[in-house]
C-alpha cells in the first residue's frame, strides 16, 4: 500500500482518537453518553482556524501559529462545555443524550448562519498544519494524561459516579463536579481534535460536524469497549480504517457497518476491550477475572451437568 494513502488514514485515525479518548472519559469512565460531541469538534475547528487563517484569506483570521490554534480551539470547546454542562448534567438517561444531541445540531445550524466563517459554504484556506508526527505526539500525550487521570483519585471518583451514583455521593464525591470535569475534559479533547481536523482538511464546513459524526464517535467508544483506554485506541484505529478497507465493497460497506454495530451490542456488549487495559497489570487483572469466571462456570457445570453461563451474567458494564 502506498505510504501517503496509509498516512492519510493514520492521520484521520489519530485525529479521531483524540476525540474518542475524550468521549471515552465521559462515556466509558463516567457513564454519560453524549450525541453532541461533533459540536465541540466544530467549535474547536472553527476557533482553531480563526487563530491560524491568514488575514489575507479571511479578514477575521489572526494568522497566529498553529499551537495557539490548538490551545484556543481546545479552550473554547471547554468553556462552551461548561455552560452546556451547567444546564444539562442534571438530566437523566435518554434526556441527557437528547439534550447533547440538541446542542450538537444547534451548533451546526448556528455555524450555517455565521457568514464570516463562510456559513454553510464552508471555510476554505485553513493552513495545512496537521502532520502525522504532531498528531502522534498529541495522541501519546492525550493517552498519557488520560491514563494518569484514570489512575488517580479524580479518575476513581469518576468511575465511582458511573458505578453507583448514590454510593459515590455518600462517599463524599461531588458527583456534579466530577461529571462536569469529565465533560469539560472530553470537550477539550474534542475541540483539539477539531483543530487538527480543520488543519488536515484545510477546509471546514458545518455539515462535517453533523449528528452522524457524533454517533460515529460514540460507536467507536463502545466498539473499543467502555472503560478501556486501549479499547478506545484500538477502536479509533480500526473503525477509521475499516470504511477505507471496505471501500472496495462500495455500497455494501455501511450495511456491514450497521450490522456490525448490532452484532457487537447483542453478542459482545462490552466491546473489544471492555474494562480491560493492554498493560502488564491490566492483563494480569483480566487473567484473574477470566480464571474466576471459568471457575464459576465449572462450578455451575458441576451442579447442573450441563453448561451454564449464568455465573458471569449481570456483569455488564
Amino acid at each position: 500500500m502506498d505510504w501517503t494513502y496509509i498516512q492519510g488514514i493514520l492521520m484521520l485515525a489519530g485525529i479521531n482518537l483524540i476525540s474518542v479518548l475524550g468521549l471515552s472519559l465521559l462515556t466509558g469512565f463516567t457513564g454519560l453518553f453524549s450525541f453532541g460531541h461533533a459540536g465541540f469538534m466544530a467549535i474547536g475547528a472553527y476557533i482553531g482556524a480563526l487563530m491560524t487563517v491568514s488575514p489575507s484569506t479571511t479578514p477575521a483570521g489572526l494568522g497566529l501559529p498553529f499551537f495557539v490554534g490548538i490551545i484556543a480551539g481546545g479552550a473554547a470547546a471547554g468553556i462552551v462545555s461548561y455552560f452546556i454542562g451547567r444546564i444539562t448534567l442534571s438530566l437523566k438517561g435518554d434526556y441527557f443524550c437528547i439534550a447533547t444531541l440538541g446542542f450538537g445540531e444547534a451548533t451546526r445550524l448556528l455555524l450555517n448562519n455565521v457568514q464570516i466563517f463562510g456559513g454553510s459554504r464552508g471555510w476554505p484556506g485553513v493552513p495545512y498544519k496537521s502532520t502525522l508526527p504532531v498528531i502522534v505526539l498529541v495522541d501519546v500525550v492525550a493517552v498519557l494524561f488520560l491514563a494518569n487521570l484514570i489512575k488517580s483519585r479524580h479518575g476513581r471518583n469518576m468511575i465511582a459516579v458511573r458505578e453507583e451514583e448514590l454510593a459515590a455521593q455518600v462517599s463524599g464525591i461531588d458527583v456534579f463536579k466530577y461529571k462536569m470535569t469529565a465533560l469539560i475534559i472530553s470537550a477539550v479533547y474534542a475541540g483539539v481534535a477539531g483543530v487538527f481536523f480543520g488543519h488536515y482538511m484545510t477546509f471546514i464546513q458545518p455539515k462535517m460536524f453533523s449528528m452522524t459524526k457524533s454517533t460515529e464517535l460514540t460507536i467507536i467508544v463502545i466498539f473499543g469497549g467502555l472503560g478501556s483506554i486501549s479499547g478506545s485506541v484500538l477502536g479509533a484505529v480500526l473503525l477509521t480504517a475499516l470504511p477505507e478497507i471496505l471501500r472496495a465493497f462500495e455500497i455494501w460497506r455501511l450495511v456491514f457497518y450497521g450490522a456490525a454495530v448490532i452484532l457487537i451490542m447483542i453478542s459482545r456488549p462490552k466491546g473489544l476491550m471492555g474494562g480491560m487495559e493492554l498493560t502488564p497489570s491490566g492483563i494480569r487483572k483480566a487473567q484473574l477475572e477470566r480464571k474466576a469466571r471459568l471457575e464459576a462456570r465449572a462450578e455451575a457445570r458441576r451442579l447442573n451437568g450441563l453448561e451454564d453461563g449464568s455465573a458471569d451474567e449481570g456483569r455488564g458494564a
Binding site: 500500500m1 502506498d2 505510504w3 501517503t4 494513502y5 496509509i6 492519510g8 488514514i9 484521520l12 491568514s54 489575507s56 484569506t57 445550524l109 450555517n112 448562519n113 456559513g119 454553510s120 459554504r121 464552508g122 476554505p124 484556506g125 495545512y128 488536515y200 482538511m201 484545510t202 477546509f203 464546513q205 458545518p206 455539515k207 462535517m208 480500526l238 477505507e244 478497507i245 471496505l246 471501500r247 472496495a248 462500495e250 455500497i251 459482545r268 473489544l272
Partner: protein, 384 residues
C-alpha cells in the same frame, strides 16, 4: 474475541490482496469520484457511466496515443457520498493507492475545494465537472495549480439568472428561497441578489431552508404574501420539485426560476405541472446538434437518458485526452501544465482554459424553459 480478530484479519487480507493488482504499463489510470449515494447519486452514476463508456470507446478504437505510444484508459471510481471528508480520503486513495494520473469530478464545490492540498502533494490534476464555486480553482487571488473545471462559475450563473429575469422577463420584484446549508445554493443566491438589485430590481422576500427539509410551506406562505413577479430557487431538483409542488398547493402561480441544479429527468417526474413554465440557467441546450450523438450513445448503452453531468464529464474527458496528448507523456505534473491555456471544442461549447483562473472562459449559458414537460431551449445568454 478470537473469532472477531480472525474475521478482521481475513477482511484485511482480502482487502490487501484486492489492492495488489498491479497496473500494466500501457494503461493510463484515471480516477473519478462523486456521489453514488445520497441526494446527488443520479448525477454521480451518470458521470461515472459516461466516463466508463467513453473510455471503452477509446479502448475499442485501440486506445489513445500519447508521446507516440498507444495507451488504454482505465477508470477507477469511488463514491464519496457527497461528503467533504470522504472526498479527501477518496482522493488520497486515488493518488496514493491507485496512482492515477488525473482525476475527473466531483460535481459539488464543497467536495472539490478541500482536495486541493492532496492534489498538490501528489501532483495530480483534477477536472471538476459542475463545481461552480469560484474557490474551487482560485483561492486568495491565487490559482490552485492542480484544480481545473469545465463549467462556468456561480457569480456568472447568478448574474445570468438575474439579468435574464430582469431584462428579458421584465420582472422587477423577485423572491428567493434557498438552502442555507448548501454552499452552491448560498452562492447563487448571493450573486443573484447582488446583480438583481444592481439592475434596479427589488428582492421582496429572501427565505431559506435547511438541507434535508421537505416542507417549505411556511416560507412559501410568506413569499406568497410578498407577491413577487418571480421566485428564484437556486437549489437541486428534489427540493425544487417539492417546493414547486407546495407552492402550487398554496395557490402561488408565480413563475419559478433556477440554476443548473435543476435539469434532471426526476424534476419533471416529481414536479410535473408545478414546474411548467419555469426557467433555468443551464450549461447547454439539450437540443443542440452537437450533443445529440453523445445523448444517443448513452441511451443505447445504458437504456436511459443522460443527465446534465454526463455532458460536462464528457467534455472533461475530451479535455483530459487533449491535455495528455499535448503533454506528450503520462505524468500528472506535465498534464497540469498542458491543461493551462488549452483549447478544446467540447459538446457544451468551446472550452478555453484560462491559465489565470483554470476556468473555461467565455462559456455562454443556455436559458431553458420547461414546456409540456420538456426542456425547451430559449436562447444563449451571457451576463454583462
Amino acid at each position: 474475541m478470537k473469532r472477531a480478530l480472525f474475521v478482521l484479519v481475513l477482511v484485511l487480507s482480502i482487502a490487501l490482496v484486492g489492492c495488489a493488482g498491479s497496473a500494466k504499463s500501457d494503461t493510463i489510470k484515471v480516477g473519478w469520484f462523486g456521489a453514488l449515494t445520497g441526494d446527488q447519486a443520479v448525477w454521480g452514476e451518470n458521470e461515472f457511466n459516461t466516463v466508463k463508456m467513453l473510455f471503452e470507446e477509446y479502448n475499442n478504437a485501440g486506445g489513445i496515443e500519447v508521446g507516440g505510444k498507444k495507451y488504454k484508459l482505465e477508470a477507477i471510481g469511488y463514491d464519496n457520498k457527497g461528503d467533504a471528508q470522504e472526498a479527501v480520503n477518496v482522493v488520497k486513495r486515488l493518488t496514493g493507492q491507485d496512482k492515477v494520473v488525473a482525476i475527473l469530478g466531483p460535481n459539488a464545490s464543497g467536495n472539490a475545494i478541500p482536495i486541493a492540498p492532496v492534489l498538490e502533494q501528489a501532483k495530480v490534476p483534477d477536472i471538476a465537472t459542475v463545481a461552480t464555486n469560484p474557490k474551487v480553482t482560485v483561492l486568495d487571488g491565487k490559482v490552485k495549480p492542480y484544480n481545473f473545471r469545465v463549467c462556468f462559475i456561480d457569480p456568472y450563473q447568478g448574474a445570468v439568472a438575474a439579468g435574464y429575469a430582469y431584462d428579458r422577463l421584465n420582472d422587477s420584484k423577485a423572491a428567493i428561497l434557498y438552502d442555507v446549508s448548501d454552499d452552491y445554493s448560498q452562492g447563487l443566491r448571493e450573486f443573484f441578489k447582488a446583480n438583481f438589485e444592481k439592475k434596479g430590481g427589488t428582492i421582496v422576500a429572501d427565505e431559506s431552508f435547511n438541507g434535508g427539509d421537505v416542507d417549505f410551506r411556511p416560507q412559501l406562505s410568506k413569499i406568497k404574501a410578498a407577491n413577487p413577479d418571480i421566485i428564484f430557487m437556486p437549489y437541486f431538483f428534489k427540493e425544487v420539485a417539492l417546493s414547486a409542488n407546495q407552492a402550487r398547493e398554496l395557490g402561488i402561480k408565480t413563475t419559478l426560476m433556477g440554476g443548473d441544479g435543476w435539469p434532471s429527468d426526476q424534476l419533471i417526474s416529481m414536479g410535473g405541472k408545478s414546474v411548467e413554465g419555469s426557467y433555468f440557467v443551464n450549461h447547454l441546450d439539450y437540443a443542440d446538434p452537437a450533443v445529440q450523438d453523445y445523448k444517443a450513445r448513452y441511451k443505447a448503452k445504458y437504456g436511459k437518458e443522460t443527465e446534465l453531468n454526463g455532458y460536462l464529464v464528457h467534455d472533461a474527458v475530451l479535455l483530459l485526452v487533449a491535455g495528455l496528448q499535448k503533454a506528450g507523456k503520462v505524468n500528472g505534473e506535465a498534464l497540469a501544465k498542458a491543461l493551462e491555456g488549452i483549447q478544446v471544442q467540447g459538446i457544451t461549447g468551446m472550452i478555453n482554459i484560462s491559465p489565470e483562473t483554470h476556468n473555461p472562459e467565455g462559456k455562454d449559458a443556455a436559458i431553458i424553459k420547461i414546456v409540456d414537460g420538456q426542456y425547451v431551449f430559449q436562447e444563449k445568454y451571457a451576463a454583462k
